[in-house]
Symmetry: C2
Subunit: 358 residues, 2 copies
């Protein structure tokens, strides 16, 4: 993918940087991990520090000092999962902030305005993430509204996408000129619950709208893993192969490798970063709960087959100590390892696919 | 100073790594900051992960993957300030752990055993840190016990200093051979409350015992700053100029520069790291509380005259956002800047002193 803020090789895993930071990790270490694209959460950034403030400061990239690509979600999913007293109507969603209880309203048009102000490389259409379980009638109604919202998102986005904040970007004159020729991209989102025929219909009608990329949403919401795989397998062939195909909110390392081999180009998940903060490390030998007593004097690296900056330098015993002593370095080192493991997992799949293509 | 784990240019500020970590900072970034010596807290490491465990793992350097120098305190100060139900007798101090309430006993001999097991480059004699305010009789009694304890510390240390844990150190055969010729060093501690004559007496009797270095303890315990300076000025000339002179637990950037110019070689303080976690940044323009509303859209660096990795990359607005959003990256970046500022403060004083000496 060639995006305003650089090229991204796919399939790719996108670490989640909810509040303009991948929790605990300085940006230069993300660069050292070879992270090429981050996900930012529109809902959180809208509430704090605010999208108008970020626009005034030249956009999210400049605000957080991250010159590589950023994808933003539409804000919808967090409104459903975090905010209080939400009310969904055809017009949009009204909700109260989980931070201070203040009242807000998101519509497809407003979500586009916010994402354009943030200066995302990839903005997402405003959708309704269908809950699980949902019956057929509910999934159908939700899907229909998501399609109407996709249309409204697209129309508003196309009218306003030139209002991106990076015209004030610093750097060379060449770079500034180059950025003036770039606009963000808007991806559509397939919904349809766990019903293959609704997934197919959603995909077909979305493709007719002609987005530069497509996401499969409403997965990893509590359904069994086999069902996730089935929905991806059903939907993927209906989305254009020559455009990025993104499965939102997955998954474990073996899942992201599996989906990438099926043809998924992009994935994101809080799992590597959130699990790290709880002491769960992903390794070539499986999952490892670093808090366990058995690692108290284990001087081996977290993963003997990993060459990341954590595995090269620190022992399981040390990481366990940091966790047990509730030291903040624990989250830093665990997160660095898990992200390195995810990045490496995707690199291996890319190599595999490249070898197959010859 | 030439220590078992490398040379340290003085005057030097030692960041505090209480629980085998300078809170929130990976060791390779401490190296990038050019930190040459850390302070470890014997009380904390004794309780968790335990000194026998650290000894079995080859010592504190290997445990935390820090190959540069480490100084450990005696554990006394934390016993007085953190533990519960402490009882001080001539023999030593019994106390309960602040973590789980378990009962423990520290004597001069035991403190030496623990510090030798940790493998410190510099161990500190077990002292009683006289509280402030203390009357003359109390300061005299406390000083006398500290001197008796210094003698016991020294005798036990000299008998056991070859039991350091680093004989199992990894690395080249040359390096292993070199380490076998090295032993830790024990510094004595001057007490005497805020009474110049007691400080003088304490220093003179301690110097008679012939330690390889001397600390001035019992300062920065609540007394006015002018009194701190006076006690240092009184004591310093009585300590040998050709041996390291260490003032424990100070201070603000202007204080450490002032004391270094007076002839102090070593200082340590939690201030730069603790203040950072509360959003207080030290800069060439004074103190800056990054949480203040006025920085919400301030795109300047934290300190326009600082070349550290934080000031080169991030804005005040971004650091304020991280603080307000309670993001863990806040502690990482604030701490990196404050430590860089302290390291740079001492580097400038060293350059100044070097220029004066020509």
């Amino acid at each position: 993918m060639t995006l305003p803020h650089g090229a991204v090789e796919t399939p790719v895993f996108m670490p989640v940087g909810t509040q303009a930071t991948v929790k605990a990790i300085p940006q230069h270490l993300l660069e050292e991990l070879d992270v090429r694209i981050l996900l930012g959460n529109t809902y959180h950034l809208y509430l704090r520090p605010g999208y108008e403030a970020i626009r005034r400061m030249g956009g999210l990239h400049r605000f957080m000092s991250w010159e590589r690509a950023i994808l933003t979600d539409s804000g919808g999913f967090q409104v459903y999962s975090l905010s209080e007293l939400r009310k969904v109507t055809e017009e949009g969603v009204s909700f109260r902030s989980h931070i201070d209880g203040s009242s807000h309203f998101f519509s497809p048009e407003h979500s586009m305005d916010v994402q354009i102000a943030l200066g995302s490389d990839i903005a997402m259409a405003f959708d309704e993430c269908t809950e699980y379980p949902a019956d057929y009638a509910r999934a159908r109604a939700s899907l229909e509204m998501t399609l109407r919202w996709a249309k409204r998102s697209q129309e508003h986005f196309e009218r306003h996408k030139h209002e991106r904040p990076w015209d004030s970007a610093q750097g060379s004159e060449n770079r500034a000129q180059e950025m003036r020729n770039q606009t963000p991209n808007l991806f559509g989102i397939v919904q349809g619950g766990m019903f293959p025929d609704l997934r197919r219909e959603s995909a077909e009608r979305l493709v007719e709208m002609d987005f530069p990329g497509y996401a499969i949403g409403g997965l990893s919401v509590g359904e069994p893993r086999e069902m996730t795989r089935e929905m991806i397998a059903t939907t993927l062939p209906l989305l254009p192969q020559d455009k990025p195909r993104y499965v939102m909110g997955v998954g474990y390392p073996d899942e992201i490798a599996q989906y990438a081999r099926m043809g998924v180009d992009m994935m994101d998940c809080v799992l590597p970063t959130r699990a790290a903060r709880h002491g769960l490390l992903f390794t070539s030998e499986g999952r490892l709960n670093i808090r366990n007593r058995q690692y108290a004097e284990d001087q081996g690296p977290p993963d003997p087959n990993c060459g990341c900056m954590v595995c090269r330098r620190y022992s399981r015993a040390y990481l366990r100590h940091l966790m047990v002593a509730q030291e903040s370095l624990s989250a830093v080192l665990n997160t660095l390892h898990n992200l390195a493991f995810y990045v490496e997992t995707m690199r291996k799949v890319r190599d595999e696919l490249l070898a197959l293509s010859f």
